[in-house]
């Protein structure tokens, strides 16, 4: 029996949690740019969509007294990409956010939604992994904080419990500064999912200073820690060794966008280029 989709707009976090629990197969929705096409295609449409875009406290980007940056779950990717603090202090995120989809899509999609969708190609996940972000969430069992490194579980799967709502993502002040280089290959110049992408971020206040994140080459977005260590130890001269290490860290598959072999090879090419670009800067 096909039911009509029940769409509800929540005005507070409490209301969102209640609306979610009222019906089985509910889903939280922010931009809906991944959720809606997938619901249409899969035949496993949610019974209810709980829209969180109207919750005021989730619609803000805040610099906390600690210097940490908090991005609410309803903040669009475009707003994050253009935000002066993001651009100045967390350029890796601005870079990745700008690469996602198209202008109209970025105006609709949210950064938190992008990571909750947990696609292996989630552009902003690369930056959040490098910046050691934390996901703030709340559920029937109360609030909790999930380190981004524990957030992605598999394709489309996160460590959020059923009914748990991601409220925001926080980036620590210690990840500020530094530089980043994104290498991203796609089938056309824009408005396309990354066939493979490598983000290299150099964070002066962190250890390791070099951060390497890989997209579309594993079940989840992931870091290549061996490559990071090599770059920390030997700098740009370790480019080739780091590339080898990153290629070894990749677990790509063949799909309609590209073969595993090409993706693995490109991880090496993109990281080598990123090292060269940052080294020369």
């Amino acid at each position: 029996m096909q039911e009509r989709l029940d769409y509800r707009k929540a005005h507070s976090v409490e209301e969102a949690l209640t609306l979610f629990q009222d019906l089985p197969r509910s889903r939280y929705m922010a931009g809906g740019t991944d959720l809606l096409p997938r619901a249409r295609g899969s035949g496993q449409a949610p019974s209810r969509l709980v829209d969180i875009k109207g919750i005021p406290e989730l619609s803000r980007i805040e610099e906390l007294p600690s210097g940490d940056l908090r991005i609410g779950a309803a903040v669009s990717v475009a707003a994050v990409a253009a935000h002066p603090t993001v651009r100045q202090r967390f350029s890796a995120l601005s870079l990745c956010a700008s690469a996602l989809g198209s202008y109209p899509l970025r105006n609709r999609a949210t950064v938190v939604g992008n990571i909750c969708n947990a696609s292996p190609c989630a552009d902003t996940a690369a930056a959040l992994l490098c910046l050691d972000a934390t996901v703030l969430c709340v559920g029937p069992a109360g609030p909790r904080r999930i380190p981004i490194h524990e957030f992605f579980v598999g394709p489309g799967q996160t460590s959020l419990a059923s009914g748990e709502l991601a409220l925001a993502v926080e980036i620590p002040a210690a990840s500020a500064g530094g530089r980043a280089e994104l290498g991203r290959l796609s089938r056309r110049q824009g408005v396309d999912i990354a066939t493979v992408a490598v983000l290299l971020s150099v964070l002066p206040q962190r250890s390791p200073r070099h951060r390497v994140a890989l997209l579309s080459v594993a079940p989840t977005p992931r870091r290549a820690s061996e490559a990071e260590t090599l770059l920390d130890q030997r700098g740009p001269s370790a480019a080739n060794a780091a590339a080898e290490a990153a290629m070894a860290a990749a677990r790509p598959i063949d799909d309609v966008r590209g073969t595993a072999a090409y993706r693995r090879e490109m991880v090496g090419v993109l990281l080598t280029r990123a090292v060269r670009a940052l080294g020369a800067a």
């Binding site: 029996m1 096909q2 009509r4 096409p37 249409r40 295609g41 198209s102 290959l185 089938r187 056309r188 110049q189 824009g190 408005v191 396309d192 999912i193 309609v256 966008r257 590209g258 073969t259 090409y262 090879e265 490109m266 090419v269 280029r273």
Partner: protein, 776 residues
């Protein structure tokens, strides 16, 4: 460039305001009174016998008003070859083949009921490759091929998978090949691609209680739809009315007949109710029509002077599950098999093969981009083999006045000049290509030729009539789905009657009850055919105006002229505004002469002759040829294989530029569509299940504005077409024909690799570069 007052100028689109304000209404915008929503039940199997279709559970869903199946409507349909039924009867032939359809009060009820139609299938071995399809033991996609109705010039081979085979035999190929100093043979492959119009297919139908059928449809061919619906359902043309609202792109995919029989069948089940079907984007990819795939093998023999002496062309077309329209692509590719070149000795075979893939049909270029992918790479490869410059080699062998095509047609000084197009592009490339660090750069060139592919009696007719205030209404039944027909029609009418363009209104939402006949909007034929008809009708209107004015002014007709809405006696006896003439002239004493000024006229191609059935030789098999050439400059990233297109230069001999802005739009649009098929497009099937793997815009990519090259240049040669309106010939399709081959040639120039299977993806380039390096 010759210019009239309106023709040859940069006249703005007459329907621009409607389009940009959203006033233009498309099928999905139209809410019809008491409309039912249709949903198609489609085959999940690429090839299967249909054992049973049980609709009982579907009928019990609340809101369902009708379910139609192949048992109720076992009628055949098809424009040239009637090889398809409205719904599958005994077997399904591709994933997406319609088995039944539901009409219900809501889309949700229709979907629910469609899911409850229980179909019992017995899967059969599926065929996905034309090379296997022609083998004697291949599974037969159409065991009843010998029983289908077909037009006389299409030749399906009963007992095989071959739905059409055109043979071209000119001179003595085998003898000539023996004399050749060099022989080069290569095979090239083109995958199925989809049109991806902005507006998906949609149709609606209503049969009233007296049995009269109305159809509203997003289509390129309202009259052909009417004709084929009548043939399919046994209706009289007088009882079927087909109307076309605004159409948001078609590119050939909406030519012929498509969803109309499905909504008609449902409408017949629920008299008095409108039934509307709009495809989803996913259905558009796999269940609407696609461009046919091609496997082309070319053999070229050249003599010591660099002249081609023998040319063999073997084209195997992947027509998919049905060849109703696609059989004519096979035919067109056959009689154009040599492209823009004069080959004295030719052995050509163009063979359409059924497979269990999506249905092949018309697509901008009608087979020409596919064969040029092969022909134009082959020309470069032969030139390299004999150590000649590819441009010089082309100029030595290309068609032109005094040369004969593969079918023996003699070209004359009105036929267009591909040599001049080649030289223009070569001139644009005379400066050496600047190097770029880390990139391999190269230039490539390819030619293009295409003739309209249409029956010899393909006609366009128009009606011109004046309003009381002197505004001229021009009724044309071609479809303006973006190419600018309405604007061009206004230009020709304003030119012929010397009217301000604001005083012309093109009435063009065709309605077969009210509009003049037009065969189809295909084959780049509208500017040419409708343009000619308008000029003729305008002459008739002028004669009516002059006849009345002559009596009013007391001046002979020969002395009269039209100037800015007035009939003027050039001999000085005075003038009379046409507003006083268009409804008849009333003299001071009250008596009236003349009457409402109106005229109809038509255009039918002149003197076309059938091809010889054994050799395809014919003195005039087609109405006209449009030639052109494109050059591209690319930068290749050798590490990733990515191709960046830096510059495209296009030149076509269009006879006469009619509208400067629109022809640039056609050229740029065609080039970008050509870059899409050349670089990224391919409908990929899972060969285990027959399902499309990328039936969505996430994984089927077409170019966006970001993929448009930094430099796009277009220029035009104007060798007037003898039977063209003011010398014009067609250009709409030609602009996307040579682009992929030019890219492939540029890729070879840039890095010495040759990719013969479209598209040129980064991954293929990278693999070819690695292979080349490994060979040293």
């Amino acid at each position: 460039m010759s210019q009239g007052r309106w023709v040859g100028r940069d006249v703005l689109r007459v329907d621009g305001l409607e389009k940009v304000t959203g006033a233009a209404r498309y099928l999905a915008d139209v809410k019809l009174p008491r409309m039912l929503y249709a949903q198609v039940v489609r085959s999940p199997h690429p090839h299967a016998r249909v054992r049973e279709v049980d609709v009982s559970r579907a009928l019990s869903v609340a809101g369902v008003r009708a379910v139609a199946t192949g048992r109720d409507f076992p009628f055949h349909v098809g424009i040239y070859l009637k090889d398809q039924t409205v719904f599958a009867t005994d077997r399904v032939r591709f994933v997406g083949d319609p088995v039944a359809a539901v009409a219900a009060e809501s889309p949700e009820a229709a979907r629910e009921a469609a899911a409850l139609v229980r179909v019992e299938y017995e899967p059969l071995p599926a065929l996905f490759d034309v090379r296997q399809g022609i083998l004697p033991d291949a599974p037969l996609v159409h065991p009843d091929l010998g029983k289908y109705q077909v037009v006389p010039w299409i030749t399906p081979q009963a007992g095989t998978n071959i739905c059409n085979h055109l043979k071209v035999r000119k001179g003595d190929y085998h003898a000539a090949l023996k004399t050749a100093a060099h022989v080069v043979e290569n095979t090239f492959v083109v995958p199925q691609v989809q049109h991806v119009p902005m507006e998906v297919h949609g149709s609606a139908a209503r049969m009233d209680l007296s049995g009269k059928l109305e159809v509203l449809t997003s289509a390129q061919s309202p009259f052909t739809v009417r004709h084929l619906l009548c043939a399919c359902f046994g209706l009289s043309h007088g009882d079927v009315r087909v109307m076309v609202p605004q159409v948001g792109g078609g590119f050939g995919g909406k030519a012929g007949i498509n969803l109309e029989p499905i909504v008609t069948a449902l409408a017949m089940r629920v008299p008095g109710r409108w039934v509307r079907l709009v495809l989803t984007r996913a259905e558009e990819f796999y269940a609407a029509v696609v461009r046919q795939g091609l496997v082309a093998t070319l053999t070229t023999g050249v003599d010591r002077s660099g002249k081609v002496v023998a040319q063999r062309m073997h084209y195997l077309w992947d027509c998919g599950a049905y060849g109703g329209y696609g059989v004519n692509v096979v035919r067109a590719a056959g009689y154009t098999c040599g492209g823009a070149y004069e080959f004295p000795n030719v052995w050509g075979d163009s063979i359409g093969v059924y497979t269990n893939r999506p249905v092949g049909s018309a697509y901008r270029g009608f087979g020409m981009q596919e064969i040029h992918w092969a022909l134009e790479q082959q020309m470069d490869m032969v030139a390299h083999e004999i150590g000649e410059d590819p441009i010089a080699f082309r100029l030595k062998n290309c068609l032109g006045p005094g040369k004969r095509t593969v079918t023996g047609q003699l070209l004359d000084e009105h036929s267009g000049r591909v040599d001049q197009c080649i030289q223009r592009v070569a001139q644009a490339f005379s400066e050496p290509l600047a190097t770029r660090p880390g990139r391999l750069r190269g230039r490539g060139l390819a030619c293009a030729v295409k003739a309209p592919a249409m029956p010899n009696d393909a006609a366009s007719s128009v009606l011109l009539k004046f309003c009381e205030d002197g505004v001229l209404e021009v009724l044309v039944s071609g479809i303006d789905y973006g190419q600018g027909l309405r604007t061009v029609a206004a230009q020709f009418a304003a030119e012929a009657l010397n009217l301000p363009i604001e005083q012309v209104r093109v009435r063009n939402l065709p309605d077969t009850d009210l509009s003049p006949y037009d065969w189809q909007t295909v084959a780049s034929r509208q500017t040419w055919a409708t343009g000619n008809a308008i000029l003729r009708a305008a002459e008739k209107c002028k004669a009516q105006l002059f006849e009345t004015a002559s009596q009013v002014l007391g001046a002979p007709v020969e002395r009269l002229a039209l100037r800015d809405g007035q009939v003027v006696d050039t001999g000085g006896a005075g003038r009379v505004p046409i507003t006083r003439l268009v409804m008849g002239y009333q003299f001071p004493d009250g008596h009236v002469i003349g009457g409402p000024v109106a005229a109809a006229a038509h255009h039918v191609p002149e003197g076309l002759l059938f091809l010889d059935p054994q050799t395809s030789q014919s003195a005039k098999p087609v109405a006209k040829w449009t030639f052109g050439a494109q050059g591209v400059e690319i930068s290749v990233d050798p590490d990733t294989g990515h191709i960046q297109v830096d510059r495209v230069v296009a030149c076509y001999d269009v006879g006469q530029v009619v509208n400067q802005g629109l022809i640039l739009g056609q050229t740029y649009g065609g080039v970008v569509q050509g870059l899409g098929t050349g670089l990224m497009e391919e409908l990929k099937l899972d060969l285990l299940t027959g399902k499309a793997q990328n039936a969505n815009l996430v994984d089927y990519k077409i170019p966006t504005a970001l993929d448009v090259p930094a430099a796009l240049e277009a220029s035009f040669v104007e060798t007037p077409q003898k039977d063209g309106p003011m010398g014009a010939r067609g250009i709409g399709e030609h602009t996307m024909i040579p682009t992929p081959a030019a890219l492939a040639n540029a890729l070879y120039a840039a890095c010495g690799i040759r990719i013969q299977e479209m598209p040129l993806t980064a991954e293929k380039v990278r693999a070819a570069l690695r292979e080349k390096r490994a060979k040293g």
